[in-house]
């Protein structure tokens, strides 16, 4: 087992150093990091000192760039036109000023995201990244900083759940390495779409993928959870998983904790699909966990725990790449970690107090609500592509509603977890008191 772990980790490192493993989406378009040294208001140009070159360059500002976005002497990211690399479309401060209000916001989302991911194996990123962007963090920095908090959080969560005997390390590592391969393809698809249809086309593709996958998979998970709840809370492996386990194509692997013997030829595609989704919708776990449950045949407890190993592997590889691009705002990463390391451990221990199918209830609910959120964003992207007409105020309102629903998904998930966890803890305490009373008698 140790040998396998070392080999797989070596593969992760090799792949991540040799290619693009921008899990969570690669930085889109053309952008440069650097400092604006001069601003010529009349000519509408800036003198820009890029990080990666000695010489300063003159860039022209697009009409859409507002004057108050230009800050001299501070590190900024300038987005350039894909065809004309001297035309600036957007200027964003690379490192936002942190005040108590935005720090508390990051800590709160970090805690709730940690709680949910400790419990269902993933989650949090879908609110954290847009949440940070709403504070003024550039998109690439938000994705990078979120990614860098993902692997330490997943590591702590996986360690906890390993102690509870819920993690199938072999399954997690095989899935993780296959997921990294999936990320490569996911990014290629994203790049192709971005080059063909630009930012709006890319956003539309992501939203449609989000809605289609979340409604189908999330709906199935939720229905299954309800069925189990009605029949007394006993989980059974799916018919598909049982059929797959019977197919004997070497190499076969024995997954001890998951209590499954299965061909690698079925395990790798599930991991691959997880990576593909991580690069597309930034939440691979929405495919990884159901895949492990319904295709491989692991219980929801083992699947959600092993997903943390997948998240660690992918997050680690992704963070190396983002660090190489110099886009991680470590302050944001560490702020999220300050709260999420509490949340993830609380979520992990919460799994020991609840019935197994509750993991499916939480996961299914979150997926379906997130699907609604992404659905609300689709009209704006359709309008951006010129396929429908939409008032700017309506588009703005829909985007705000989309974010609010997304935040609600995370909060509802956290509420279900905490409510059931507290109930489980109370019942446990009452049980202990009864046993103690019995001993005294």
């Amino acid at each position: 087992m140790k040998k396998l772990a070392v080999i797989l980790l070596a593969i992760v490192l090799t792949i991540s150093f040799s290619s693009s493993v921008f899990a969570g989406g690669a930085p889109r378009g053309v952008f440069k990091k650097g400092i604006i040294t001069e601003f010529n208001e009349q000519a509408g140009t800036i003198l820009f000192s890029p990080n990666d070159a000695e010489e300063e360059i003159t860039l022209t500002l697009d009409k859409s760039v507002k004057q108050d976005e230009i800050t001299l002497g501070k590190r900024v990211i300038v987005s350039l036109d894909t065809k004309d690399h001297s035309l600036v479309l957007n200027v964003t401060r690379m490192f936002i000023d942190l005040n108590i209000k935005n720090m508390l916001f990051i800590l709160f989302v970090g805690f709730v995201g940690g709680l949910v991911s400790g419990f269902i194996g993933s989650g949090g990123a879908f609110v954290l990244t847009p949440g940070m962007m709403s504070l003024g963090v550039p998109a690439a920095v938000a994705v990078a900083s979120n990614m860098c908090h993902k692997f330490p959080k997943a590591m702590v969560g996986a360690y906890k759940r390993l102690k509870y005997g819920q993690v199938d390390l072999k399954l997690g590592l095989i899935m993780g390495v296959s997921a990294i391969a999936g990320v490569q393809i996911g990014i290629k698809v994203q790049e192709y779409i971005f080059n063909a249809w630009g930012d709006a086309g890319s956003n539309l593709y992501v939203s449609i993928a989000f809605v289609a996958i979340l409604v189908t998979v999330g709906g199935y998970v939720f229905r299954d959870a309800m069925k189990i709840a009605k029949t007394g809370g006993e989980e059974k492996p799916s018919k598909l998983a049982l059929a797959i386990q019977k197919i004997n194509i070497p190499p076969m692997i024995q997954l001890k904790t998951a209590n499954v013997r299965i061909s690698v030829w079925f395990t790798v595609p599930v991991g691959f699909a997880t990576g593909l989704m991580a690069a597309t919708i930034a939440v691979g776990g929405f495919v990884g966990v159901p895949g492990m449950m319904y295709v491989i045949g692991a219980s929801s407890l083992v699947a959600s725990a092993s997903e943390l190993v997948v998240a660690f592997t992918m997050g680690f590889a992704g963070s190396i790449k983002w660090a190489m691009a110099g886009l991680i705002d470590i302050r944001l990463t560490l702020l999220i970690l300050a709260a999420s390391l509490f949340g993830v451990q609380l979520g992990a221990l919460g799994t020991t107090y609840v019935k197994e199918h509750l993991i499916k209830v939480v996961m299914g609910s979150i997926m379906l609500i997130v699907a609604v959120s992404r659905g609300l964003a689709i009209p704006k992207y359709l309008a951006d592509l010129g396929l429908i007409s939409l008032q700017p105020s309506t588009a703005n309102m829909l985007m705000k509603a989309s974010f609010a629903v997304m935040a609600a998904a995370l909060l509802i998930g956290a509420f279900i977890i905490l409510k059931n966890m507290i109930r489980g803890m109370r019942m446990e305490k009452q049980g202990e008191v009864k046993i103690a009373a019995h001993h005294i008698k």
Partner: protein, 77 residues
Amino acid sequence: MKEKKKKPYVTAIIMGIISIVSYILIFNNQETVTDLTTKSGYFVALPIVAAFYFSFIHGAFASSMLSVLGIEAKKKK
């Protein structure tokens, strides 16, 4: 009756102090920290090392803090 497990007060205090001091150092030197962690070359390792460091220190603090508060996993029967 089973003996009650001792709560990890000492670990919580030590790890808590190390963690808080580390956070104060980072946030009091934001400019230097963001500058160093976004440089190229060997500096690329810095954000990864920092994330690992905090996951051990702050992770251990969070774990012992939860235990001190009496929030622990259900014991297997």
